[in-house]
Amino acid sequence: MSVRSIVVTQFEQVAVEQHRALARLSDELRLLDSGLDSLSFALIVARLEDALGFDPFDVADDVKFPVTFGDFVRLYDNHK
């Protein structure tokens, strides 16, 4: 299963759990417009750490939160 598929699955699962209407996931989709909130993203990142074994936000340097869904997937892809 690709990183992208795992990420998509987590976005969809968390959206259902949080009663949120998830926008269509495309690389260009701004996370701001995704329908998810900060709590949802914290959950997604925690779940992805369990699924993938790493947390790309666990770095000493200042890390910026991705702007688009594509950025989000790339952050995980590049960290592999």
Binding site: E17, L43, D50, V67
Partner: protein, 619 residues
């Protein structure tokens, strides 16, 4: 000498219907204040029926912040379950949380709260004469329970729900949520008091706490000195199974379960929060077995604690010029099912002014970000009597017979607000009364004023709707959604993926169609209502007419919105030309950079200053 106090403040503890299969009738639940060092903590003490009295009590260690808000009802269900088995219970708020006294913003919360848990254990023992205590902790509360157990010999067993095993990982998740929140707010990252503390969902974690948490890892610590432990992970977020094995290897009778219900209990919006039945059932089974194994039932008779007066806490606020306030819980309303906390100004206050703070959504009476507590104390220090209350079915109030609990728009909300106003008039002599509310609280304030409840001011923050029909649910079409997303839905309607989802039955096409067509209909309706108003014809559900009527009665009407809130446009559409006609007693403020619940300290401080200024503006 302990200055703890209690009362017979039994809030007709009707349990939530969801808890009905988990515990028998609620029984007496006393509001109490007790000491932790030099500070006062608020809690709920529940003595068991004497016939069932156990020699083991239960202290509940709450999670922190947003998780504590969401899990409020569930924790009560855990409490009821233990009580039904004969255990005296104490659930309490750590310093600087809930209804307890304030904490120094720089303090190491981890250390302070561990001492609070130990103080709660002592308090439960003092009240009941029990010898042993089981700590039930959730998330950060579970970590605190483990830390306290290591320092307190009276703690002999633990129930840990989704414990924070790695403080470092917990801190990381807080930072991620913070980072995401900042990104959602347009990339604006707010420094908190210029230090390394962070604010997560509006709740502060000090730099000292973060440092202490980062160094805390249960896997590398000596195990707690308890005989038995039940560890329940959420099956969607497991993380404690390895540590539980460590406990077993150290000779602790440790049981591990991964069960559903965690996300629904603590990691969702409070109005959607659900009681985790499977976790509660597992807790009940484990406790029953543990109590039987301990053979302690009836081993010690409970000592009666005679309540001498209603419990109260004296608070010192004001920095250089300290002001003494009194805070106490009250039960009121015809059936005495309503619970509120009243903060009274210093003795001798001659201006008889009062403010009622109404629930925001399904958040209990402390409000989002615990804002109602800080506002109540600030306003009381300036002379107001402040009542932060729970409507029936919410928070610590009881639920009316035949009604659902956790309803954001309960049918009898108006009755509850009338009861609050009557309480402030009759018991506190208030002659100038203000209603304050955020989101649904704002809606209820408006409805109360429109219904003629005698108030002088309504302060409404981020209302998202101005009308609500009985029978609607939160999942029904919200006009705010129509106003907010006029372009998003048609775009989605035209996308290929949307059609695939539609054909797969994953999209409610009627809902989207309604959203698409409602906006122009709303604009047309607004114009027609303006015409009707001009002809002095009153149409049903006419917000403009209602606002003018409220205004004519001399009630000051104040709206405060975070920029971008859908309620702004909705107010313009539904209020129509009336909004422009109203004069000085009608104010609309917009706060840049805020979100719906003002979770960031900067915009929140601006909003709080605006509502305070409006509260103290000369009428």
């Amino acid at each position: 000498m302990s200055s703890a106090s209690s009362s017979r403040l039994s809030i007709a503890q009707a349990r939530s219907p969801q808890a009905a299969d988990c515990a028998p009738a609620g029984g007496v639940r006393d509001a109490v204040y007790f000491d932790s060092g030099e500070n006062k903590l608020f809690g709920w003490f529940r003595p068991p029926p004497a016939s069932l009295a156990s020699n083991i009590g239960l202290v509940i260690c709450k999670p922190y912040g947003y998780e504590a808000l969401c899990s409020h009802r569930s924790l009560r269900a855990f409490e009821e379950t233990a009580s039904a088995l004969g255990m005296p219970t104490l659930q309490f708020d750590y310093l600087g949380t809930g209804d307890s006294a304030e904490i120094d913003a720089q303090a190491d919360q981890l250390t302070a709260w561990t001492q609070d848990v130990i103080a709660a254990v002592s308090e439960l023992r003092r009240r009941t004469g029990i010898q042993q205590v089981c700590l039930l902790g959730v998330r950060l509360g579970a970590l605190l329970a483990v830390l306290a157990a290591s320092e307190c010999a009276a703690v002999t067993s633990l129930i840990l729900i989704s414990p924070i095993v790695s403080g470092q990982r917990y801190v990381r998740s807080l930072r991620t949520a913070r980072l995401a929140a900042a990104s959602m707010a347009g990339g604006h990252v707010e420094a908190t008091d210029g230090d390394d503390s962070i604010e997560s969902s509006g709740f502060l974690i000090s730099a000292a706490t973060l440092a202490a948490l980062t160094k805390t890892d249960l896997k590398t610590r000596a195990p707690p000195t308890v005989s038995d432990a039940l560890v329940i992970d959420g099956n969607a977020l497991p993380g404690a199974s390895e540590w539980t094995k460590q406990l077993s290897a150290c000779g602790i009778q440790a049981r591990y379960l991964a069960l559903p219900g965690l996300i629904e209990m603590i990691m969702t919006a409070p109005q959607y929060a659900q009681i985790p039945h499977e976790m509660i059932a597992a807790t009940r089974d484990w406790l029953r077995q543990f109590l039987n194994g301990s053979a302690t039932r009836g081993a010690r008779r409970l000592e009666a604690v005679s309540p001498t007066s209603a419990p109260a806490m004296i608070l010192r606020t004001g920095g250089d010029q300290p002001v003494l306030l009194t805070e106490r819980p009250v039960s009121f309303g015809p059936e005495k099912i309503l619970l509120g906390i009243v903060t009274e100004p210093r003795q001798g206050e001659i201006r008889r002014r009062a403010v009622v703070l109404l629930n925001a959504g399904a958040d209990y009476h402390i409000g989002v970000n615990r804002m109602h507590v800080t506002l109540a104390r600030e306003w009381a220090s300036r002379g107001y009597v402040a009542l932060r209350m729970d409507l029936a079915g919410l928070g610590d109030s009881g639920t009316r017979s035949g009604q659902q609990d956790n309803e954001v728009f309960p049918a009898a909300a108006l009755d509850d607000i009338r009861a609050a106003v009557e309480l402030l008039r009759s018991s506190y002599g208030a002659i100038d009364i203000t209603l304050f509310g955020l989101c649904s609280g704002a809606y209820h304030a408006l409805r109360a004023a429109a219904a003629g409840v005698p108030v002088n001011r309504i302060l409404m923050v981020n209302p998202q709707n101005y009308f609500w029909k009985e029978g609607m649910t939160l999942d029904d079409l919200q006009l705010a959604e129509v106003v907010h997303n006029p372009r998003l839905y048609p775009r989605r309607l035209l996308s290929g993926v949307a059609w695939k989802r539609l054909l797969g039955g994953k999209v409610n096409v009627l809902r989207i169609a309604k959203i698409y067509f409602y906006r122009p209909l709303l604009a047309l309706e607004s114009s027609l209502r303006d015409m009707a108003r001009g002809l002095r014809i009153r149409l049903p559900n006419d917000l403009g007419w209602e606002l003018e009527e409220i205004y004519r009665r001399g009630v000051r009407i104040v709206f405060v919105f975070a920029s971008g809130e859908p309620g702004i446009d909705l107010l313009k559409l539904e209020g129509g030309s009336s909004v422009k006609r109203l004069g000085d007693y009608f104010r609309i403020h917009i706060v840049e950079g805020g979100d719906h619940v003002f979770s960031q300290s900067g915009p929140r401080a601006i909003m709080k200053k605006i509502v305070s200024d409006e509260l103290f503006a000369r009428s």
